[in-house]
């Protein structure tokens, strides 16, 4: 292998961009500081790191492309022994689509909605005159079959909106593999998918890579995912290489502290609290959106004791967030009752007393849109204090600082605007805003899913500490089962607007499972080699292909 020339060799790559802060002079920022990448033919290299680590930027540089005004300013990019960093556009056009292809995160946004899938899949092969149209179509059908798409012969005649997200992602993989490239860049191909869909796509991609012998750069922030497909893994942070090694080395014997932290993430343990009378009781609640005749919530009955955490799990569209809207009164239920603290809550939030509103606080998934960008942190946290408790002036400022201390943010944050905070800090401020109201229940709607794993870990730890201090109850909405294991006392598994399984954590997570819970639980990527094969083999043996649920 050493004698063979590598397919891709990147040496000392430097990537810069110009940032335009409003009202200031433009300035140069370096995104990638001298990274080396070597990839042999037919191998898969995983690039992993948190957001802003430069993994996508490096991935795209292997076709000498810089997204959004990014400039490849230094180093060498050798593809098949040829320097391409400063190649002319005409040369690059020859390379892109012929030697290197790309699979993006959001297939839905990457397909032309008005063209049939087949035309888009074979477009590159035809425009590069790699094969004739019948040949390309035959190859596309072969790839569809290999990727496990339903009715491979005819799916190509559908339009992008006629297939599901997971299928579209696989069609996109077929599109990338169709022109027989030497290298495919997979840029977070499963990140936008539900966990149950992700596993199928992942298995399909892995099989297709193995069968076609193509080399791949697999970019993701999820170490457990990349461990299933990559031969080697490069850990990146702040545009620099942290560690490079075989998948086995990185997962089992990480050398650097940062990698160790990534591997041991979600190491939080939480002992389940015993059953207790509920603080929040939801009785047979059904709800639908105005102007529709379809119930998005069907007869939901669950309860949450004071000081405990109820995790509501399910894939997108299962009605988890709608349940939160029904509890807060944003979407009054059509049927059923919600009891809180021994009394029945008005269905519409406008009919609730100020004290009722204070008792139930909400933390949102996107901290960016949950905070007014024109208010300082002090105002954001201080307003509930002023509004509910009439605190003013220095008393208010003092309490704001106490809350900031509680969420482990130091002095000097009260005068900052949300744009001056990092993602994790923003979410902490949202937590402080909820805390400020001294609620008995906080609804956490996917609060960690927009955050990098290490940051998310910090937020979960903080939430658990706060619960121990203040005896707040959490209704924790998430699609991430690892989070559920880490913090829940009770679990409700939702599927298509119904609660499929509900009870204490130890009961819900213990067999025997119903089909859906089994599918959900077994789909969560585990950070070890060979997990994907085991699950697929297990499913084949049981005859439960999840393909029909995709």
């Amino acid at each position: 292998m050493t004698s063979e020339k590598p397919l891709l060799e990147i040496r000392g790559l430097v990537i810069e961009a110009t940032s335009y802060p409003p009202g200031e002079a433009p300035k140069n920022v370096t995104l990638v500081h001298g990274v080396d990448v070597t990839l042999q033919k037919g191998r898969v290299l995983g690039l992993i790191g948190e957001s802003g680590a430069g993994k996508s930027t490096i991935g795209l540089s292997s076709m000498a492309y810089g997204r959004g005004g990014v400039r490849l300013t230094g180093g060498e990019i050798l593809l098949n022994g040829r320097e391409i960093r400063e190649a002319r556009p005409a040369t690059l056009r020859q390379i892109r689509g012929r030697e290197v292809t790309y699979v993006s995160q959001s297939a839905a946004a990457s397909f032309n909605p008005s063209k049939r899938l087949m035309d888009q899949v074979i477009e590159t092969s035809l425009s590069h005159k790699i094969m004739s149209k019948p040949e390309a179509e035959a190859r596309a059908v072969m790839l569809f079959r290999k990727l496990g798409l339903p009715s491979p012969e005819t799916i190509g005649s559908r339009y992008p909106h006629q297939v599901s997200g997971g299928q579209l992602q696989r069609v996109m993989t077929a599109m990338a593999l169709c022109p027989k490239p030497d290298l495919v860049i997979f840029d977070e191909p499963t990140t936008a998918l539900d966990v149950t869909t992700q596993i199928d796509v992942l298995a399909a991609i892995k099989e297709a890579i193995q069968d076609t012998g193509v080399a791949a750069l697999y970019i993701t922030h999820d170490l457990a995912v990349v461990a299933q497909v990559a031969d080697e893994i490069m850990v990146l942070r702040h545009g620099k290489k942290v560690e490079l090694g075989t998948t086995d080395q990185i997962i089992n014997r990480p050398a650097e502290d940062y990698t160790k932290a990534l591997v041991s993430v979600r190491g939080i343990e939480h002992d389940e609290k015993p059953e207790a009378p509920p603080l929040l009781r939801i009785d047979c609640v059904s709800a639908r959106y105005a102007g529709t005749t379809f119930d998005v919530l069907k007869n939901i009955s669950i309860g949450l004791p004071a000081g405990q955490t109820l995790a509501v799990v399910g894939e997108s569209g299962s009605g988890k967030s709608t349940l939160a809207r029904a509890i807060t009164g944003l979407l009054p239920p059509t049927k059923g009752r919600i009891h809180f603290d021994g009394r029945q809550l008005s269905a519409d939030f406008a009919g609730r007393s100020r004290d009722d509103l204070r008792q139930i606080q909400m933390i949102y998934q996107m901290a960016d849109t949950a905070m007014n960008p024109r208010q300082t942190v002090g105002t954001i946290i201080g307003r509930p204090l002023e509004f509910y408790f009439g605190l003013k002036g220095s008393a208010r400022d003092k309490r704001v600082q106490e809350l900031l201390d509680q969420i482990e943010m130091g002095r000097g944050f009260a005068d900052r605007y949300p744009a001056e905070l990092s993602g994790g800090q923003k979410q902490r401020v949202c937590i402080a805003r909820a805390l400020a109201a001294k609620p008995k229940l906080i609804i956490c709607d996917e609060v960690t899913s927009a955050l990098d794993p290490l940051v998310a870990d910090g937020i979960l730890k903080l939430l658990l500490e706060l619960q121990a201090e203040t005896q707040m109850a959490y209704l924790f909405i998430t699609h991430d089962l690892a989070t559920v294991r880490a913090i829940a006392d009770k679990i409700a598994v939702m599927y298509k607007g119904e609660v499929r399984r509900y009870g204490q954590k130890s009961d819900v997570l213990a067999p025997p499972f119903d089909d859906y819970t089994d599918l959900l639980l077994s789909s969560v990527p585990e950070m070890r080699l060979g997990w994907l094969e085991e699950v697929i083999a297990h499913r084949k043996a049981n005859g439960t292909t999840s393909g029909n649920t995709v």
Partner: protein, 270 residues
């Protein structure tokens, strides 16, 4: 704080305009309403910008006219923005019937050309500056209403507005503290434009005899008075026209600068 050169030019010019508007009566070299020379004299040491169609000093009329033009346009624009954005935000936040009623009233007003409404109203009402400002302000507020409503609609669905509503905040806080600061950028940009439209609108009304009444001067009216001179090669009409153009540019340079500062999400501290 660094001020970009374009904003500096805008600030200086706008400053000069405002200064001359405030101190118009002290700055005028001659009375603005009395003939002091012969018809259409060219620029000279005694009359820097020449004289107009009946021999009045153009510089004096320009200064006095600037005072009236800027005052009326500014007052009308402020009125239209105060009304338009308040009702626009209210419509967006309330939705339902409030929104329907406000929007349909606005549609009704916009369905009739504003010039015609203005002509009808001004021919019935007593002709003075207060009435002029009120009529212009109310008519222009329909445009601002639509902009403010559209902008606020986008903001009203943000989670921070939802959070404020769930906290139990009344509409006053939601409108003035949650929505207004975020809607300011497009409104400031629109203000620069609307202010100049107001200047042109006064000029149009004056041209039709229903705006600023003679012998008071306004820039649009001055263009009208002197327009016949253009065919004789006399540039008297171009001076107030140039003043309007200069005011338009300088106000918008300032508006652009304010815009770039208000669109910064870091409180303009960078």
């Amino acid at each position: 704080m660094r001020i970009p050169p374009s904003a500096l030019i805008g600030l200086i010019l706008t400053g000069v305009f405002i200064f001359s508007a405030i101190f118009a009566d002290l700055l005028m070299p001659y009375a603005y309403d009395l003939p002091v020379g012969t018809q259409w004299e060219g620029p000279s040491a005694t009359h820097w910008l020449g004289t107009d169609t009946i021999g009045r000093d153009i510089l004096s009329r320009l200064i006095k006219g600037g005072q009236i033009t800027i005052f009326v346009a500014l007052a009308a624009s402020i009125l239209s923005f105060a009304m338009g954005s308040f009702f626009g935000f209210l419509a967006a936040v309330s939705g339902g019937w409030t929104d329907q009623i406000l929007s349909r009233v606005c549609d009704l007003m916009m369905a009739i050309p504003s010039l015609i409404v203005a002509l009808v109203l001004l021919s019935v009402l007593p002709l003075n500056l207060t009435v002029l400002i009120l009529v212009m302000g109310v008519l222009d507020s329909t445009r601002v209403f639509r902009l403010a409503r559209a902008v606020a609609m986008d903001i009203a669905v943000m989670e921070y507005v939802e959070a404020a509503k769930l906290r139990g905040e009344k509409w006053g806080w939601v409108i003035f503290r949650e929505i207004l600061p975020n809607a300011l950028s497009p409104l400031v940009a629109e203000f620069g434009l609307r202010f100049i439209f107001a200047v042109l609108f006064i000029s149009t009304l004056s041209f039709l005899g229903l705006g600023v009444q003679p012998p008071l001067a306004d820039w649009g009216g001055m263009v009208k008075e002197n327009k016949d001179g253009l065919s004789w090669g006399i540039s008297a009409a171009l001076v107030p026209a140039l003043a309007i153009a200069l005011l338009a540019i300088s106000v918008n340079l300032v508006a652009d600068w304010v815009l770039s500062r208000t669109s910064s999400l870091k409180g303009g501290r960078g």
